[in-house]
Symmetry: C2
Subunit: 203 residues, 2 copies
Amino acid sequence: MAKTKDINTENQILEAAKKVFQIKGMDGARMQEIADKAKINKAMLHYYYRSKQLLFEAVFKNAFALLAPQLNTILNDDSSIEEKVRNFTSNYISFIIKHPYLPSFIIQELNRNPEFILKLKEQKGFPNIAKFKKQVILEIEKGILKPIKGEQLFINILSLNIFPFVASPLIKAFANIDNKEFKQLMNDRKTEVANFIVNSIKT
Amino acid sequence: MAKTKDINTENQILEAAKKVFQIKGMDGARMQEIADKAKINKAMLHYYYRSKQLLFEAVFKNAFALLAPQLNTILNDDSSIEEKVRNFTSNYISFIIKHPYLPSFIIQELNRNPEFILKLKEQKGFPNIAKFKKQVILEIEKGILKPIKGEQLFINILSLNIFPFVASPLIKAFANIDNKEFKQLMNDRKTEVANFIVNSIKT
DNA sequence: ACATTTGTCAACCATTTGGTTAAACTAAAT
DNA sequence: ATTTAGTTTAACCAAATGGTTGACAAATGT
């Protein structure tokens, strides 16, 4: 048997599945399309992943595993809130420009099947807001920040960073801009968003 | 025939279709489920709307028509930017609490089929940012606002208001809160978000 | 009263879809 | 050379799906 070959095939499948699932979602994706894109027979999909559902879950977990560490930097590292905001905003927008379908994919599929997040929550490394909340309280006490609930600040940071990518067709239409101008706007946001946030919360 | 009855049926169908499409999306929705929910035969769906695609478009345009006027208030009315932000934030969040599936539905389907927005753009009443941009420039010149591009401010306003609802499963998981606490957070945001924005842009 | 149009339904149809099977192929181990 | 175990394929299948048909009922116009 060919140990080298099967790993290769398995990966081809996963790559193809990623592309198809992330663009079309679970419901819109077709096993045949994934097979074609991976240049293999449809039966191979089932040989390696047993069912559409399991293949999908492999893709989804993979995608989430890419996203989670990004969030954990802002939640768990030791720099000040302001530094975190500046770092996160810059890094995250660069990250998303490289993986444009990721956030809408994850959000869409979690809306379709909200219970699925329970499975993810069990895994270690799942982002948790607790430490961040404490830090916000501390910095408010120190007089560095204006009063704000940690949850609200965190929601604001996520919203400002992620939403424009999730809603890009809408934003392009409202602002009457093409892809190039949109990309420019998003690049500007690497510093723009951080300033916007810091402006609002710093004393 | 029953003129009263057919209008009734047509509406029953649209209401049922709304529910199913908004939760399951175009790909996940089933004509049979819509028929069942409307308590009619599946053939009736085609009698009134010819195809799944056309029924979907009816639902989508309907949904968008609900959303657009909300945006136009902030884009086109004559109050100051600060007043607009405060008004919009409060009204919009109330609105979304009443129609929780609307924003994710529209965003999801536009991502699936971005060309669709061209059809919407032609219709009058489609939100346009031009007037808002001019107003931002004017208030900056007057010294009321700190310098910011109108596009960025508008994106920020939308992000802060809409994203939490689109990504609610994620946010509930990260913040470790249940539906009740989430609703409370969103209610707080009616003023919280406006303050956050005004804090950041006012001189 | 009667023909015509409109509305409703059960049964049906063609196609697509996820999934299965059984046989063929490959390459390493004995 | 033969066995063994993993890999790949073409053909197939049952269920689901969007859509159609033809019969029939209810309302309308004349």
